[in-house]
Symmetry: D3
Subunit: 124 residues, 6 copies
């Protein structure tokens, strides 16, 4: 909320910063809970028989279905960081839409696509 | 996101434009998937033994329960386009609230009502 | 759970009885909460500008989307009690599937159809 | 939507005002439904063998899990009004995260913490 | 599924055994993930400024809202193990119903109450 | 419901048959809607830049998160049919658990594992 006046950053970056700062503050008060959550999710997302890239695409699919804005942004970034192509991300939107219909489709064609554009053009 | 600087349009119109533009771009990459989705939803929402108006009201009820902002706006517009009265829309909010409690009520009294007002007064 | 040994009743009837008995017992301990809940839902589902039948069909659509077995059974019965045709119920399944995809479809083609059959043939 | 131009109020206050005004307008059209909903929720949240404070913390946990922005703000305020400490609120976020993972965590570390800050510093 | 033929055990016990055995088998293949999940949830549910009992009641409320059968059984047992009274459990059902309406109510008056009865009368 | 007396088939097979028969009956009444739904989901799940196998694993992850029993069974079978290893399925459960916590975990360690066992040993 308080970051909307920040200039020189796009909406995706604002969300990522807001989450990072919020997590930092929460960790000061709940260090063990956050540490154990990070350990847990690290094991969930690490390279295994499913690659890190495909786990990030799967995570994006679940995020779109669940309609959580932060997770959608976070895992769209995760997909790009792991080298996923735009088409792979679009196909993940499609799989989510088989479950979540119009709600999934609307998040996919707005937030996900805008997020790709902003992460690929960070100066905008 | 990138449309917030657009002037002369209200929030409902921004959302509808953002969805339309996003869908257009997504369709360029995934034409078959989008086409088959449109065909599917066309069959779901077309006039049958339940009228198109009552299907839009039902869709609005599910949208409010599921808390998807785009679907709420899209189907509030769909209800008005099919000639639903404000009271019919308010009653659909009520049915959704029997399932979704305060979360449904809060979307109904804010987003749905504001959306009706903005669609009925497009110059605001 | 404890009713599965009951003979001479089909699965739909078991669920309706189990809910009715459970609600009766809960009401003994929480009379005001149950009474006020009943008053609230009575106002949600009563005849208005939307008919009782269309409100029951809407409630069935939300129940299928939310995947609650008791609500699906309860509102399938509500639809039939209000004179809804099988086709109207099938169309409500279709609207729910536009939002809930395969999950909604699977509940609609199994539980809803079986429930119609059992309520129409109570001796089975 | 139409309140974003209001000055001198922070985001939490805008949401609370938007909900209050929306509910007022909805009540003009649906007085019985809103009155019976208020009666019902009053019985749900009143002091019992579980204290009002612990019911508000429980309501906050469910709100975070369900990701409804209005309910998160409303019940964060409810927790503070009932004298809950920041640590109690942070622990409620933790319980919600055991169910809702990263989606719950992201709402907890952003919206909930910002809401606490804004409610404790109403002039910001 | 394969345990339904087990004799001398009630439904609650079957579910608890099925979960325990399933988790044991899963842990053989995914030891680190399960261990880190257990550590995480241990931190979520441990005594803090909110008591273990109130955290279990909160967890039950979220479980009822989310409609997960295993979690409802697991945390009803957790509430009883921490000394929660039946009325406290009934009030937690009420708070969940303020969010989840009839779906929450139906789980509360059937599964939760049956679970209390079976856990208090283990020989049935 | 009416298939529980069938002998010589395990629970997974019963669910698959119940869904197949239900869908057949529904299709008689709603042929266009079902046909267009099948076309849509065929485009969602077909080989693309993401393989069919990884799309099935993604679909399983979303199914576990959404807690739909039919979809979990259907896509566990889909994963095995596409040659996914047990470990890949277990890792998909793990990714789902990062979002859905204990609810996802409980479905993964019971229903998913039992389903693998029954599909690999069809005579049981």
């Amino acid at each position: 909320m308080e970051h909307q006046e920040m200039s020189g950053k796009n909406s995706t970056q604002h969300h990522l910063i807001r989450y990072k700062e919020g997590l930092g503050k929460y960790t000061e008060n709940m260090p063990e809970l956050v540490h154990s959550f990070s350990e847990f999710t690290r094991h969930c997302f690490k390279e295994g028989e499913i690659s890190e890239k495909n786990k990030q695409l799967m995570a994006l699919g679940i995020s779109i279905y669940s309609q959580d804005e932060y997770c959608i942004i976070y895992h769209t970034k995760g997909c790009l960081d792991q080298g996923a192509s735009e088409n792979e991300i679009f196909e993940a939107v499609g799989v989510a839409a088989a479950f979540g219909g119009g709600a999934a489709m609307s998040q996919g064609v707005t937030l996900v696509q805008e997020c790709i554009q902003e992460l690929n053009n960070p100066m905008h």
